[in-house]
Point group: none
DNA sequence: CATGAATGAGTCTTCATTCAT
DNA sequence: GATGAATGAAGACTCATTCAT
């Protein structure tokens, strides 16, 4: 692996473990056993590293949330796909969610890119909900689509922050993130078509189980 | 007003205006025209000031969310009271919501107090929802009370952070907070008893108007 | 002596001895046995210190070059005064002359102040030459007053740089500065009225002697 | 053109444009599209490049200021030649004049070469003035030849620095350099033989025109 | 109560230079 | 000849906190 990639990987690891603000460029360099100068050879500054990580993040988002049309959206398999994708991004880039505002307000360029990605997501999510409504999976009044997508985005974006505030340690476990995924379903539950009760129950059960792993295997 | 109180007031003002992390103890002292030493005579450290602010915060919360029992909970006046109280606390202590995790994870004692208050709130909120359900205002299945309160708490706790992330400036307007209050209603809407449609519509209209002040009078 | 003044004095000393660019804020602090933080308590940054020194510099200039009118300007005593003042400022702030452009182009505010002082000086110097011309001491054609003042200003401003370039060590001695003063007289010599030959010769002899001290007593 | 020469050419260009201290070895390499390692293959270090530029500089000087003997020195054509040569060297190596002391005191070997060239120049210049005096073009008392050559050298060596200090931008235009050439004539004017008034006036007019180009064509 | 000077560890960043390939 | 990754010492500056008066 190239040094440049090793830096990104190490930064992501340390950011996720210790919080972005507690990880200095010197920490990252020391962690890799390279000199600070070398790190600055590959990246102009710390924000530049975060930029690179953000690219990975938005790539994942774009790949995972390309909307499908038609009957596919009536299949639980597709629903699993989306919910798993939510979980994956939340976990892999949890430092980003945990320090969203610090990071965005320090770097306007990144903030603009973030807003662009959010805008795409909003459009896709609304299309998805409308499609599911027309597939008779959901029954969401048209005027509620918009506020609902907003609440859903907010839930996903700040679930980690919320959970971090609920716990004395800033670390979050995968289980806690699965609980967040389950909450997404909870918010949609009132709108689910009665016919789909069984499928919905299966989905919810799935993520509730994942969300209740007693001993978190990832952090002691 | 005593110096000690003036410090708390000034700190709250500056924190809300500029963000807690951007306000140093020297800023606060300079703002009041006192010496940093004097500030440290009254408070052991910066966290100690935040502690005092937090006391005001939790006092407000406790006063405002004491649950009522019986028919009172069927009255829109009471609902207004709660929603206005939510708004008030969000606005008055917005710096706290904007930097929740930074503040909590730096100071375990404060964090414990925060969790205690949240626990009280959770109990009260659940009682309120149950009471409203028994008053035939809402119809929330018992097993959904718990997750719903959690989502509501989360919505209120991170609405400011969410909105800050959506905007290029970290400043928050009152209008934006009223939109958050309106979202609380939105989440409850599916559970409202059909009979209460009119009252609900009035409530929602009220906060939507407040949330859509075109020119924000607080920040240009 | 207050710490703030001690910092200015130490900075001036070290700047003059080692060159402004070779003296860091940490050097200054270490030289005084104070912490870097303390230095930054008294001054916002390194330029701020230079600013303060520049104030002393321009104060001296303004005090020393207030022009006199009338017969006084025909007296050798007054000429000595001006030439000694030139020497004093060159010596006391030699670091400034030695690094003029680096310092000015790094700090626009200082640069503007510098230009303002230079403008004053130009006006005063031109008035002086005209006065001496009308007192029959000099005979400078009116159209040459302007370019001549410019050359004189330039000579004084860059004499130190010039001499530094001529020597393998960057240090300059007082003798070398006196040679600069003598050069000022040299440039004016062609314009001196024949009647004043004796006075001029005395003046020149005075500064030539000072400029030829064999062993420089100030630097080994 | 060989890489080694391309490096020298690029370095000179960038130094003149941006100032020697603002141009890193990496800048030069990047400007040429070569690697820093390659640059260091051809030159031991940054000073080594400056060394090479200095060779060009001194070659020009030596070629241009070889003194002529006899009647040739009474011809305005020769005077033009010398003054144009002064201009050419000032313009082509302006970075060197702008940072003379930084460059010399960093590199003793270069400094020694510089002093040697200056010594040659001094000898040649004095010979020239003496020759012109014996050709009845100038009338300089023998004891003033020496100090006058020194002032002239100083004027030429620091005219750029002086002008840079007078302007808020560090950039220098050709017009400004022509003004410097005109100042050389100004300093000699008092010594010019009355018979040569016409020729002198022509010369001065020539360089004054060049020195007063309104819109500087080289920098916007 | 109050002053304000002082501390010092820590942060990001730069750049001439080296070296294995 | 050339690449480009790597080094490391150094610099300016910040800020919560302490302490003598």
């Amino acid at each position: 692996m190239k040094t440049k990639d090793r830096i990104v990987t190490a930064a992501l690891l340390l950011f996720n473990e210790q919080g972005e603000s507690n990880v200095t460029t010197n920490h990252i360099a020391a962690h890799l056993g390279i000199s600070p100068g070398n790190l600055y050879y590959h990246f102009r500054n710390k924000n530049d590293i975060i930029h690179r990580i953000f690219l990975q993040y938005s790539d994942h988002l774009r790949k995972s949330f390309t909307p499908t049309t038609g009957a596919a959206n009536a299949s639980p398999a597709v629903w699993f796909h989306y919910l798993d994708a939510i979980f994956y991004v939340m976990w892999e880039f949890r430092f980003f969610y945990a320090n969203l505002n610090d990071i965005l307000h320090r770097d306007q360029e990144l903030h603009l890119q973030y807003l662009a990605v959010q805008q795409e997501l909003t459009v896709n999510l609304q299309a998805l909900l409308r499609e599911m409504t027309s597939q008779k999976v959901l029954a969401i009044p048209d005027e509620e689509i918009e506020p609902l997508t907003e609440v859903l985005r907010m839930l996903v974006s700040f679930w980690i922050s919320y959970q971090s505030a609920q716990s004395l340690t800033p670390h979050i476990s995968q289980a806690v993130l699965y609980q967040g995924v389950a909450r997404v379903l909870l918010l949609l539950k009132p709108y689910f078509h009665p016919d789909k009760g069984l499928e919905l129950a299966t989905l919810m059960a799935h993520y509730q189980v994942l969300g209740s792993v007693p001993g978190d295997p990832f952090h002691k």
